[in-house]
Amino acid sequence: MKLTAAMLCGCLFMVIAGSTLAAPTMDVIDGWVREAPPTSRVLAAYMRIINLTEGDLTVTGITSPDFEAADLHRTVVEDGVARMLPVPELTIPAGGSITLEPGGLHLMLFDPVRPLQQGDSVTLVLHRSDDICITLSVPVLRGTGAEHVHHQH
């Protein structure tokens, strides 16, 4: 699985904050990967995805050159029991946004290809059903997330 995101992604690339395409269709803010204990093979990423268009946008997959695999998951707590459910795709409503946050929706990142710690950044690629790829760079941060929200606008 040493494919790069570019090889996996047979779609148009859009780099957040550096787009050469005319009008941005999506914004991603407050993105971060939680620093994990050194032995951890699974990390989680959180962010807020904003749909800037007047139609629904659907994220159908996640890849990252920094991890062997990535998935979209949702933690649900029912009767005190936490379960993680795979989320096959995520639709961001027209003009709306969806927040990935601890204890809820998150990207699950498997097997980092290098040790990651606070201060590092990782590349994540969101694949959309309209064949657009959104590439973003997010920081690795420590903590619960409560302290990070609204600090990275």
Partner: protein, 215 residues
């Protein structure tokens, strides 16, 4: 004659009035008492048991390889959390919250232990747990054991854990598990439970009240 009747009725009225005032005062007093009691309960986000529950004997092992049993829960308050180290979201979030609780308790935290008990002993060896829990706080205790031994404790606390397949690799399974934080008092008895969503502020505030009432 008329005068006497009027006086008697005035007297009765007076006595009735006094009784009414007393009744009102008593009513107000008991209402205040009730509100105080109800308010006290309402203010707790934790579920506290009217009578703390005994925890029957269990035998586990901590991340130093030392025995972790009922005796290990004696003498100070213990926060117990059940999870697994391959857990990417809920467990790191909860351990970060518990680390914030420890920070907020400051010096008080030296009399409190935080215990992470794995529900995935197959992958979570003492060595693995050592690196995991000490990442969040060097004073945190990681606990594992054989599945049956862990079940002795989880059953008593009503903790559920189920293995769920994830992807093609059989080694990459996930665990569904109870995400509550269990509070054991210095007598080693199950005293209260905090259910998610958890915040450090909520736990610290509730714990302060619970500890005050325990004294």
């Amino acid at each position: 004659m008329q005068n006497t009747t009027r006086q008697a009725s005035r007297k009765r009225f007076l006595i009735g009035g006094i009784i009414a005032v007393f009744a009102m005062l008593a009513g107000t007093w008991s209402a205040l008492q009730l509100r105080d009691r109800a308010g006290h309960v309402d203010e707790l986000a934790a579920t506290r048991f009217p009578v703390a529950r005994d925890i029957s004997a269990f035998e586990l092992v901590d991340h130093h390889g030392k025995a972790f049993t009922n005796a290990s829960l004696q003498g100070s308050w213990s926060f117990l959390f059940f999870g697994y180290t391959h857990c990417p979201d809920v467990c790191p979030t909860t351990l970060s919250v518990l680390n914030s609780v420890a920070q907020q308790l400051g010096n008080d935290a030296s009399n409190v232990r935080f215990v992470f008990i794995t529900v995935d002993p197959e992958r979570d060896t003492p060595e693995h747990l050592a690196r995991f829990v000490s990442y969040f706080n060097s004073d945190f205790i990681g606990v594992t054991g054989n599945p049956e031994a862990i079940e002795v404790l989880t059953k008593q606390l009503g903790v559920l854990a189920m293995r769920v397949a994830s992807g093609d690799n059989p080694g990459s399974y996930l665990m569904d598990h109870t995400a509550g934080v269990f509070l054991v008092d210095p007598d080693g008895k199950y005293h209260a439970v905090f259910m998610p969503p958890l915040t450090a502020e909520m736990i610290v505030a509730n714990f302060g009240k619970i500890r005050e009432d325990y004294r």
